[in-house]
């Protein structure tokens, strides 16, 4: 009886438990931002929240729609450059610039995605890499507008309107708000009709198509939303670091990082990208800071090894594996969430 009801609840609305987890994360993160005064640890917290938000945004197209993009740095870069140029040259508030940049990124994502979505598997991945590389090179080349490899500094004029704050904890609150928004969007997608369409086309695109799902349209929706939020993270990055240049903002390494965090945590799940970012970011930041110039690269050696081990031993990612283990260990007899994952 109760199991039937809980399933129907799951289909129609976001589960209370997910909202509870999100609230708990928000409370803990906000408390840390308020209580921690050490600049380094605040920085680690901000980067964790930012990467969690960006990786969740990536997960909408990379996970839910199953289209493994390694070109999301393109959207991140568009967000960073649009808001920064509008702020610096035309005096737009970066908040407004952020929305313009996010919209622009969504338009570009649609223009890239529409012709690319007929490519499958590795072919799609390669074309996303190529698009991001082209954008990076063009940004380098258009130095009249972008100052090329010299990069652009964001003027330090603290004001809420300018998206520039004196205290680091304010950045943590904003990053947390971004994370809450992207997680809510993910939760909504997962429990909506769109989420089921995406799950269907991810598991078997031909079958989904045959059932009458307009696969290209839903993949497009996914990439538009994904690019929009990735670009917002780009604006945040520019406002927080105060400096952008093409190699950092459009880098293949950054695209790879977003995807790999989601894969480590659990691709195509709400909490996978968040967990992945929360695990990988501190590892990187702390190892990098503590080891300094010595042992350069050790953080990434560990991260590469973790990635390989997770892919081989826990191909669904850490979060779903822990959840499955928890169910086995504690004998919870909840119905499986209506995922279409079956045997290959």
């Amino acid at each position: 009886m109760s199991s039937v009801r809980s399933r129907s609840m799951l289909c129609s609305s976001i589960s209370v438990r997910s909202l509870g987890v999100l609230a708990a994360i928000a409370v803990v993160a906000a408390a840390l931002a308020f209580l921690v005064h050490d600049k380094f640890y605040l920085h680690v917290l901000i980067m964790m929240l930012l990467y969690a938000a960006a990786s969740s945004a990536w997960n909408i197209v990379g996970g839910y729609a199953g289209q493994l993009s390694l070109g999301h740095a393109a959207f991140f870069g568009i967000g960073a450059y649009t808001s920064t140029l509008l702020f610096k040259d035309l005096g737009f508030s970066p908040w407004v610039g952020m929305l313009i940049g996010a919209t622009l990124a969504a338009v570009v994502a649609g223009a890239i995605g529409y012709p690319s979505f007929r490519l499958r598997g590795p072919f799609f991945t390669l074309v996303t890499i190529a698009f991001a590389e082209v954008l990076r090179i063009v940004t380098l080349y258009a130095h009249d507008l972008t100052q090329g490899s010299m990069g652009i500094s964001v003027p330090f004029r603290p004001a809420l309107r300018n998206f520039v704050f004196r205290g680091l904890s304010n950045y943590a609150y904003v990053a947390l708000a971004f994370l809450v928004i992207t997680v809510l969007v993910s939760l909504w997608i997962e429990n909506s009709r769109l989420g089921y369409y995406l799950a269907a086309l991810r598991e078997d695109e031909d079958a989904a198509h045959a059932l009458g799902i307009n696969t290209t349209r839903y993949k497009l929706v996914a990439v538009l939303v994904s690019a929009f939020f990735t670009a917002m993270a780009g604006t945040f990055y520019a406002q927080y670091i105060f400096f952008i240049e093409p190699f950092a903002t459009f880098s293949l390494d950054f695209s790879v990082l977003l995807a790999m965090m989601a894969i480590i945590g659990g691709i195509g799940t709400v909490w996978g990208p968040v967990a992945g970012a929360f695990l990988v970011t501190p590892l990187q930041e702390v190892l990098r800071a503590k080891l300094g110039g010595e042992l350069q690269g050790l953080d990434l050696v560990v991260y590469g090894a973790v990635l390989i081990v997770v892919v081989i031993l826990l191909p669904q990612g850490i979060v779903p594996s822990i959840a499955a283990w928890g169910k086995r260990a504690f004998g919870q007899r909840e119905p499986r969430p209506a995922s279409l994952k079956g045997d290959p």
Binding site: F123, Y141, Q296, G304, I308
Partner: protein, 294 residues
């Protein structure tokens, strides 16, 4: 002017030989295992470091030590296939990409950790040598790389056509189940194919060492070009990789001549257009991504 253009074309074709050499192993591995090895560039980096250290420590010219480097890369390929590739052969393409990307990150940063980010190069008597053909100048090392690329493609082609193992490889690529039923040990075929693909990039690494400095991320630069080359030639298509290498070499040489700052963008744009219009590549057979190596 005509001489300059001819010189640019010749440079492009020679550069194309280098690209082809790197790409042949990548395309062989994809054609048989259906896995794109994102760590292919790092294998190139390993080969270049091996070549560099054999020169630095024992004074072996890269052209002399090439046999050792190739054997080493064959071993690296065996180990990588066994530890990383074999467990993910039946996984989704996302997971396959993630595993090889993980391997790439691991190897690249292990090199950074142990070798530092310094550029190291090998200067031999031949690395700067130039021969002239009429008004045109040809770098000897590039010419060697070009000729070896041609020779290797020929040898590999004969190997796949004539030898027993070659036939087993082609059979496995076409239909794994049928190959198994015919008594072919497909696991061993995958192992050997991956090792051969790695050994081929070992050849490329040894021949590139006199031409380019080696540093931990050297593979990234070349592997992006190699991706373009193999898709252009049709993934899994060996002669396609050779021709694709020449096309990309020419595109890069001419765009480098006319729009130097955008030269990489030009070949990526060519790549995008090819992928969108003809994803099986210029020389690929339509549907080849399902059927595999011809």
């Amino acid at each position: 002017m005509l001489v300059i253009l001819a010189q640019v074309a010749v440079s492009g074709i020679l550069l194309g030989g280098v690209y082809a050499l790197i790409s042949i192993g990548l395309t062989l591995i994809f054609g048989v295992l259906r896995v794109i090895n994102f760590a292919h560039g790092e294998f190139l980096m390993i080969a270049m470091y091996a070549s560099f250290w054999l020169f630095r420590l024992y004074g072996l010219d890269p052209y002399v030590s090439i046999g050792l480097v190739v054997a080493f890369l064959f071993l690296v390929g065996l180990v990588a296939e066994f530890l990383v590739i074999r467990p993910i052969l039946n996984a989704s393409s996302s997971m396959q990409i993630a595993a090889t990307v993980g391997l790439s990150i691991l190897l690249q940063n292990f090199a950074l950790l142990t070798m530092t980010a310094n550029y190291r190069s090998v200067q031999t008597r031949l690395s700067r040598a130039v021969v002239s053909a009429g008004p045109l100048l040809l770098g000897v090392s590039r010419l060697v790389a070009f000729l070896v690329a041609l020779a290797i493609t020929g040898i590999l082609f004969l190997f796949l056509q004539r030898s027993y193992l070659g036939k087993a490889i082609r059979c496995t690529a076409q239909d794994k189940t049928a190959a198994l039923l015919m008594g072919i040990n497909t696991d061993r075929v995958y192992l050997v194919t991956f090792a051969i693909g790695s050994a081929l990039v070992g050849v490329a690494g040894a021949l590139l060492t006199p031409l380019y400095p080696v540093f931990p991320t050297v593979g990234t630069y070349f592997v992006l070009a190699a991706f373009v080359v193999v898709v252009l030639g049709g993934l899994g298509n060996l002669t396609g990789a050779l021709l694709g290498g020449f096309i990309i070499g020419l595109v890069e040489a001419f765009s480098g001549f006319y729009v130097p700052e955008l030269k990489e963008a030009v070949y990526f744009v060519v790549f995008i257009i090819v992928l969108l219009i003809r994803p099986t590549g210029i020389f690929g057979v339509v549907g080849a991504e399902e059927v595999g190596l011809k």
